[in-house]
């Protein structure tokens, strides 16, 4: 999915769900919450 949809995707609120991995702490694979947020809120591309 093209990144211009980022704002729209914000409503899905998926970031805190996995980025924090249930521990309340940011998962170590993400450098920042912004990084995690972008990774987790965009759908994969579709042909």
């Amino acid at each position: 999915m093209v990144a211009l949809h980022l704002k729209y995707e914000a409503v899905r609120g998926l970031a805190t769900f996995t980025a924090h991995s249930g521990t309340g702490k940011l998962h170590p694979i993400y450098k920042s919450l912004k990084d995690a947020y972008i990774y987790l809120t965009l759908d994969a591309d579709i042909g």
Binding site: M1, V2, A3, L4, H5, L6, R12, L14, F17, T18, S21, H27, I29, Y30, K31, K34, D35, I38, Y39, L40, L42, D43, A44, D45, I46, G47
Partner: protein, 353 residues
């Protein structure tokens, strides 16, 4: 005029009409008429493409987002798009660009040479022609992929596969990997919603596989449209028969977009059910997409069933493969092209956004 270029693959007809032979739709256009995909036009009896180099989006994504899980895992991929599409999917996630005519107010013009310079500047090993259907910017894809190849840059298509055989054959030598979306395994769905031909898509996928392109497929599961187990099982059997059991299959979660805002996201249970069906039938590498944190994002060794690659979203979190892509636990060969990307780690791709 920026973006306008004489099209390839068309036939001149009487009365200055033209027949486009790029996709199986074969639009017949009178002078002044725009094609179904909105980016090809009959101008005085000649067919022109209108979106040549008109780049609507550009960014570095992780290759797992294409999604390609078995091709240079963990690598960044320079991803670009233009405008238009030869399908009309009412659930399209990128409908703002796929269902509109080229518009330079929202885009930038990049001739192939300039694009390649940018790709090299950001040291991306590959280019993805994605977000909107690359088949309908064929002329740009062909020219850019030829240049990329010369520079040692790989080319990836994220496509609906709705292309005629002749243009496909000309493009294949320059394409390294492809993810093709199978929208449904029923011509009824292709006729009712998409306005395309399933058979043509399947033939194109088979041809690319046969010619050595790295192929992965995606099946976006839309509640009430293509989520029937029977239909999915037929698709899986075709996949096994024509692409082989080691071709990766991505089963993706749908989220409401465009005209499908009243349809709920695909329930996790549906995705898990279809994930199991594909595994039961014998597909070795089946993935659940758009469900970050789900165990279906991992690659499991078909021999010992241990997780050889663990992922969260598009990021690799654990790597249990040897240098020659064998399972670290049992030594079985895993069908992965290229080695894991080590240069940067793929965490800088969003700087472009």
């Amino acid at each position: 005029m920026l973006g306008r270029r004489k099209a390839l693959f068309y036939e001149k007809l009487p009365d200055k009409k033209v027949k486009c032979k790029l996709c199986p739709r074969n639009c017949i256009l009178s002078p002044g008429q725009l094609s179904f995909c909105k980016v090809r036009k009959n101008i005085d009896g000649e067919l022109y493409t209108l979106n040549y180099g008109i780049i609507s989006a550009l960014g570095i994504d992780p290759i797992e987002k294409k999604p390609l899980f078995h091709f240079y895992p963990g690598s960044p991929i320079f991803s670009i798009s233009t405008f238009g599409c030869n399908f009309k999917c009412p659930w399209c996630q990128n409908w703002e660009i796929s269902q509109s005519e080229p518009n330079l107010s929202y885009a930038s013009y990049y001739p192939p040479e300039d694009l390649i310079k940018l790709v090299k500047k950001y040291r991306s090993p590959s280019i993805a022609y994605t977000y909107n259907e690359p088949i309908i910017w064929y002329e740009y894809v062909l020219e850019t992929s030829k240049l990329a190849k010369k520079e040692g840059i790989m080319n990836v298509l994220v496509t609906n596969g709705h292309i005629c055989m002749e243009p496909l054959e000309e493009l294949i030598p320059y394409i390294d990997a492809v993810n093709v979306d199978i929208k449904a395994f029923s011509q009824d769905v292709y006729s009712k919603y998409i306005k395309g031909y399933l058979e043509a898509v399947l033939e194109a996928i088979e041809e690319m596989k046969k010619k050595g392109v790295h192929v992965e497929t995606t099946y976006l599961v839309i509640p009430g449209v293509n989520d029937r187990e029977e239909e999915f099982r037929k698709m899986v059997r075709w996949h096994l028969d024509r692409l082989g059991d080691d071709t990766p299959l991505h089963i993706s979660r749908f989220f409401p977009h465009y005209k499908f805002l009243d349809t709920s996201p695909t329930p996790t249970e549906t995705l898990e059910r279809l994930w199991k069906v594909a595994q039961e039938e014998g597909v070795k590498y089946v993935y659940v997409g758009n469900l970050p944190g789900h165990r279906g994002e991992n690659t499991y060794c078909p021999s010992c069933q241990r997780a050889v690659i663990k992922r969260i979203g598009f990021a690799i979190t654990e790597w249990n493969l040897s240098e020659d892509n064998r399972c670290k636990f049992c030594g079985a060969e895993i069908n992965i092209r290229g080695r894991k990307w080590k240069e940067v780690g793929g965490h800088y791709w969003w700087l472009f956004i």
